[in-house]
């Protein structure tokens, strides 16, 4: 495959409610920053692709207006997936394999404050048997956590430790300006449950935001970026849908994507995994083979601030940033979609081409 690298990443602050800006206004400065940081213009970009969800705004074609944010004039080669931006990045990586263009812009946005995300997530479920029960993402994740506790693969203290680490990591970062205050495991475990066995700290707070990444192929990447994050493996897989038909203590699609992306070839230093629930970070770490010595979610992860449709792309960006700043040489970004980690994408990036 052709060598392709993440050369730039920008992210809007993940805010519980960005009341003063619409989606275009949130996306526009992020796209600008991603291009400016590598000295590129829209005219240098051969392919633009985005990810977003019509069910957040409640209107069809809600991504169309975002074309204003990327300067689609003269007309551009452009596409859109109704998926997290991480899958838009995958489409761009495929497009760059053709060899006729060298640079691609990927962006995604989500303004969940316009709606009740947990309720909306019910609309993603089988409309005949499951959606009419309105279980929401939180209740289904609760069933998954219960199954993992029953199987003994995690404990409530393990889950609280994930949350405690996430809060500490996110303190003072511009990406998560409203991070929950630090709390130790005993403190967190003394708090009330929200959806058995989940407590508030186990559940990612829904936020508004946007992210953008620039991919550049071949020698051009090293020209625009001192330390490109070369994609050495990228793959995505999906599991069956119905939570009742799955062993929720496992995640076969994440395991398979990880194997296909060759995660295990050598040591991963930093992994950013998209886990909107604390137990899911532990499950993903296990399925991806992230053992001791892997720094998991040093950004605080989605658990600190969860912008739906953006969080996966942001994980890839956060991981790439560690190569850009020279603090890591082999990193992993992960994205998920669907109830209880139904669909998973893994992107491994390396400092060495």
């Amino acid at each position: 495959m052709r060598d392709v690298a993440v050369v730039s990443f920008a992210q809007a602050p993940n805010l519980r409610s960005d009341r003063e800006r619409n989606e275009v206004e949130i996306v526009m400065p992020v796209v600008r920053e991603a291009l400016d940081s590598v000295g590129l213009e829209q005219s240098d970009i051969g392919f633009t692709v985005s990810g977003s969800c019509d069910y957040l705004t409640g209107v069809p074609f809600s991504f169309v207006m975002a074309l204003d944010a990327v300067g689609a004039w003269p007309p551009i080669e452009e596409s859109h997936v109704e998926m997290d931006g991480a899958w838009a990045l995958y489409e761009a990586w495929v497009r760059l394999q053709h060899g006729d263009i060298d640079a691609a812009l990927i962006y995604s946005f989500g303004k969940t404050s316009l709606t009740d995300l947990d309720k909306v997530m019910s609309c993603q479920l089988d409309p005949y048997t499951l959606m009419p029960l309105w279980p929401g993402a939180i209740s289904l994740a609760g069933l998954q956590a219960s199954a993992m506790l029953a199987a003994g693969t995690v404990s409530e203290a393990d889950m609280a430790a994930v949350a405690s680490h996430s809060r500490e990591a996110a303190q003072g970062t511009p990406e998560i300006p409203e991070a929950e205050g630090p709390a130790d495991v005993d403190d967190l475990l003394s708090r009330p449950r929200v959806a058995h066995p989940l407590r508030e700290h186990d559940i990612a707070p829904a936020t508004d935001g946007a992210a953008a990444i620039v991919l550049v192929a071949g020698d051009r990447a090293a020209e625009v970026c001192d330390k490109p994050a070369w994609i050495s493996g990228i793959d995505h897989r999906v599991d069956t849908h119905a939570p009742g038909n799955r062993d929720l203590t496992t995640c076969p699609s994440a395991r398979m994507a990880g194997e296909r992306a060759d995660v295990g070839r050598s040591h991963i230093e930093v992994a950013e995994v998209y886990a909107p629930f604390s137990h899911q970070e532990l499950l993903l770490a296990s399925e991806l083979g992230l053992g001791d010595g892997v720094d998991v979610n040093p950004s605080g992860g989605a658990l600190a601030g969860h912008t739906f449709m953006v969080a996966g792309l942001a994980r890839i960006g956060e991981a790439a940033r560690r190569i850009h700043d020279g603090t890591a040489t082999r990193v992993l970004g992960h994205a998920t979609a669907g109830p209880c980690l139904q669909q998973n994408l893994v992107c491994v990036m390396e400092a060495a081409r």
């Binding site: 080669e77 109704e82 053709h98 499951l130 999906v238 069956t240 979609a337």
Partner: protein, 384 residues
């Protein structure tokens, strides 16, 4: 490093106003099973699945491909969901073609669908972004002013649209999968039908359909027993913003640029001479002459002459929408892929009664949004 890609399987549903005999899962499988049978493949042979459809509000399920992962044969495989407005069927075909051309996969299943009877498409299309100006007119209300502008600009005879409406519905009689079957249709009947959005009459409008279309796209070294592949010789896609001062919505630059790239990559210098048959996205009758000009089949202001002279008829020199087109079947998310699929059927010589004799090079075209999203491909019976 681009690999060759061919269409080796084509399948579609019998499109209808309401396929109440099928669930959403059943609808996509009806098309997919036919495409797999055509390609001589089984579900296990497929490397990846690419799904396309228009807004999820049309059925009331958010990202329905996730709950249909089993029905799509996608479990354990990569599953992508494309959504680019009305052009989505075409864009979906192109995303899948790129997976093969980029050397990522050998056999990709593409499925585009819409089950519009689950909701009311016109109502969905009227919903607006909070704080944006309300249009409250659906797609017809949006496009009627563009058509009026075209009529004014070109001086086209007032019955040009009526001729298109009759031609496409007569073509649909030769297509066993078409939704509308109107054997008695006449120009008088169209002229007398209700004026919905002046100048668009009821019978100059596309129907609202349940339907799906599926393609199997295959790399050159994985053709298997396929004897009649349709080779993908050129692809292009372009987008532009919805509105800004000076934008020409009648003859959009994105469409002009998209066609120019398609022809350049395909070695086409005179599209009307070089291309044997084209399936063009015509949801309202007047878009046939408008797109003839935008795509370079006719000079500016002269697209209507192709319609009026019969050039775009099945027996004309540039047959347009031999299948009956969007005016005869419109499951929105699938409509673009149906154009791409019908182009492939023509160059494979498998279009049945609506086959254009000797078709070797065919064009599939889709557009969406406010005439701002374009996806196109050229397929050939000859290996490039």
């Amino acid at each position: 490093m681009s690999e060759l890609c061919a269409v080796t399987g084509v399948g579609q549903t019998h499109h209808d106003a309401e396929r109440s005999d099928l669930s959403m899962h059943g609808l996509v499988r009806e098309a997919a099973v036919r495409a797999l049978a055509d390609a001589g493949l089984e579900w296990k042979d497929i490397d990846a699945v690419v799904v396309g459809k228009a807004p999820d509000q049309f059925e009331g399920v958010m990202m329905p491909e996730l709950m249909m992962a089993d029905a799509l044969g996608a479990v354990g495989k990569p599953l992508l969901r494309v959504h680019t407005a009305g052009s989505v069927g075409g864009s979906t075909g192109l995303v899948a073609a790129k997976l093969v051309q980029g050397g990522v996969h050998k056999r990709v299943l593409v499925v585009a669908w819409e089950k519009q009877s689950e909701a009311d498409a016109s109502w969905v299309l009227m919903m607006k972004i909070p704080f944006a100006a309300p249009l409250v007119a659906g797609a017809g209300g949006y496009f009627a002013p563009y058509i009026r502008a075209y009529m004014e600009r070109s001086g086209a005879p007032k019955d040009t649209g009526i001729k298109v409406a009759v031609k496409d519905r007569l073509n649909a009689l030769k297509n066993p999968y078409a939704h509308l079957k109107m054997p008695d249709i006449t120009e008088e009947m169209v002229a007398d039908s209700l004026m919905l959005w002046d100048p668009i009459r009821y019978l100059e409008t596309c129907p609202s359909s349940d339907g799906a279309c599926a393609l199997v796209l295959t790399a050159e070294d994985a053709l298997g027993s396929c004897e009649k592949p349709a080779w993908v010789v050129s692809t292009a896609m372009r987008s532009e913003p919805t509105m800004f001062a000076g934008r020409d919505g009648v003859n959009p630059q994105a469409g002009i640029d998209c066609a120019a790239e398609l022809y350049r990559k395909g070695g086409i210098t005179d599209p009307r001479r070089d291309i044997d048959v084209a399936e063009i996205y015509v949801p309202f009758s007047w878009f046939e002459p408008m797109w003839m000009e935008n795509l370079g089949f006719a000079e500016q202001g002269e697209g209507w002459k192709m319609t009026m002279s019969g050039a775009t008829a099945l027996d004309g020199d540039m047959p347009i929408n031999a299948s009956g087109g969007v005016l005869s079947s419109n499951p929105i998310g699938a409509s673009g892929l149906l154009r791409f699929a019908e182009a492939a059927l023509q160059v494979r010589g498998m279009a049945g009664e609506h086959q254009v004799d000797g078709a070797k090079l065919a064009m599939g075209h889709a557009y969406g949004g406010g005439s701002q999203y374009f996806a196109m491909w050229l397929v050939s019976s000859d290996k490039p």
